[in-house]
Symmetry: C2
Subunit: 334 residues, 2 copies
Amino acid sequence: MVSIADVARDAGVSSSTVSYVLSGKRSISPETRDRVEASVRRLGYHPHAGARALASSRTNVLALVMPLRADIDVQVLMGFVTSVVTSARKYDYDVLLLTNDEGPDGLRRVADSAMADALLVMDVESADPRVPVLRSLRCPTVLIGLPDEPGDLSCVDLDFSAAAKRCVQHLADLGHEHIALVGPSPAVYERGTSFAGRFLNGFTEATRTRGLNAPSQPCSPSYDGVRECLDKILVEQPRLTGLVVHNEAVLGTLLSELRARGSRVPEDVSVVAVGPDEMAANQPMRLTTVPLLSDDVGRIAVEMTMRELAGSSAPEVRLLSPRLAHGDSTAQRD
Amino acid sequence: MVSIADVARDAGVSSSTVSYVLSGKRSISPETRDRVEASVRRLGYHPHAGARALASSRTNVLALVMPLRADIDVQVLMGFVTSVVTSARKYDYDVLLLTNDEGPDGLRRVADSAMADALLVMDVESADPRVPVLRSLRCPTVLIGLPDEPGDLSCVDLDFSAAAKRCVQHLADLGHEHIALVGPSPAVYERGTSFAGRFLNGFTEATRTRGLNAPSQPCSPSYDGVRECLDKILVEQPRLTGLVVHNEAVLGTLLSELRARGSRVPEDVSVVAVGPDEMAANQPMRLTTVPLLSDDVGRIAVEMTMRELAGSSAPEVRLLSPRLAHGDSTAQRD
DNA sequence: TTGAAAGCGATACCAC
DNA sequence: GTGGTATCGCTTTCAA
């Protein structure tokens, strides 16, 4: 292993000088700087991460906590993960990937053993049991999602309430009066995922404001689930002409089933879907969607973390405004 | 922060004793052990990871290198990632998640700065430029995939050649004489992903052995791509009755397109698909599949790593035998 | 502008 | 069976 002492010897300076050249924390004469940098390159020096962490109480590592659930869309999950990892590297941070199955103790372990400088937690529920633990940890934390009581924890997420309203607005503007919501699977509601509830609230509120009677149904991710969901919706809304789909997993199946039932999209039914960009890609038509912005959410989560670590920012809650991407799956009601 | 000295003081022993209690590297009297363990719990002591790494030259961290590609199935990717992370925790290891976009330098950085004890690299290509770097790193490495020249690097993967043969055998045994392969997207072949080539070789070999004339076509992940692929196949194989699909992304689309063309599965065309379990779940029928075993591959990769770290094992190449799960998408040819 | 040296918090060797 | 202490490689204060 090549250590800072090796570099110092090679460059003919003290090891503290090498350290300062690398950190830029004090001014160095151009000549010394050059010599040191040359030695660093020539020897292929990389500071020992553990030693550095020990001396500086900084790891340059972010811990990202990932859910291990069947009911959460992998595409969305992966979007967050890659976005967080690539964003973190821009700040010279690496990412430690934790799963949820260690529970709150896992968070405590990582924070207390100084394996990371901050925690990013995905898939946060309304009354998430991890939240109180995180608040007690005195470790900068950013939640992807929005619990009921974030306290002094930072949060970032899509504004799902606004997203629902945007969908309703779009369909209503096109003249649709008989619409419905195909929601996430029942399991998602049951465990109190905050985004599902926020979307549903936004939907309900927007339809009421518009004076629409609009049922909503959760939808299990299977053929039978989709059929059942559609059946129930049609009982409540027999003259259905517009669907908001907030369920990545069933979208393809749903479109097939509509076709099978003789409903053309968009001639008979307009469909607007909420989900990751990839969801729309593999469909037979260009869908009207409200993209989930996983990329932005991940990037912003990292940016917020960096600001907190720099001490230049207080905790904040940021909900990203959704936008609607017009496609060919929604049309004017005639 | 609570340090080992705090625990030592609390338990009335020396810090070395605390260390030995925790590591179990020398015998301790039951009484001392109990006192120390009680103190550890009471104070909520977690050893400082950096300090530990510095003193022991062990990080208890595995670095997992993830590809950032559009053409690789996220479901498969995520399967590996979760499997590696959860398996690693069983050995008290954490996982640092790296992406490929730093290139070989990123691997060097992580290894040289002692951020991890070993590297796991996914999505390895036949002539992967990272392989020579990895071999020069003197850091235990396990590849998920199989390059042409692994050298002394360990490898683990599904035996894709055997998987292809299994598919062909299944269809042939059912009496199908006019079959074809729907392969991964052209991009996957072009960059020389090892698994695509191995599958294709297995397919070609098996069909030749059986005396079948069986065309194969790559397939782009879009509606048009699927149509085009089917068209080309039907030109070469007009009396098609059996399809092997080695392309998770297009499976759903392909099944729809077959239906649209009036081909019933399995009455007119038998379909056997290679992919993750999740791929089959959202289809309208129980598919006959050859599962990718991402879970096993990830777990075995970790186990191999652990054995290498323990010094109890030389590098090895392990190709997992595929199995075929009978479903309703393949039937006897009458 | 630079160097010397005191930690950081563990591990593991050497004594007893 | 236990304690003392050198050591790991870096950061950062203090001195010059």
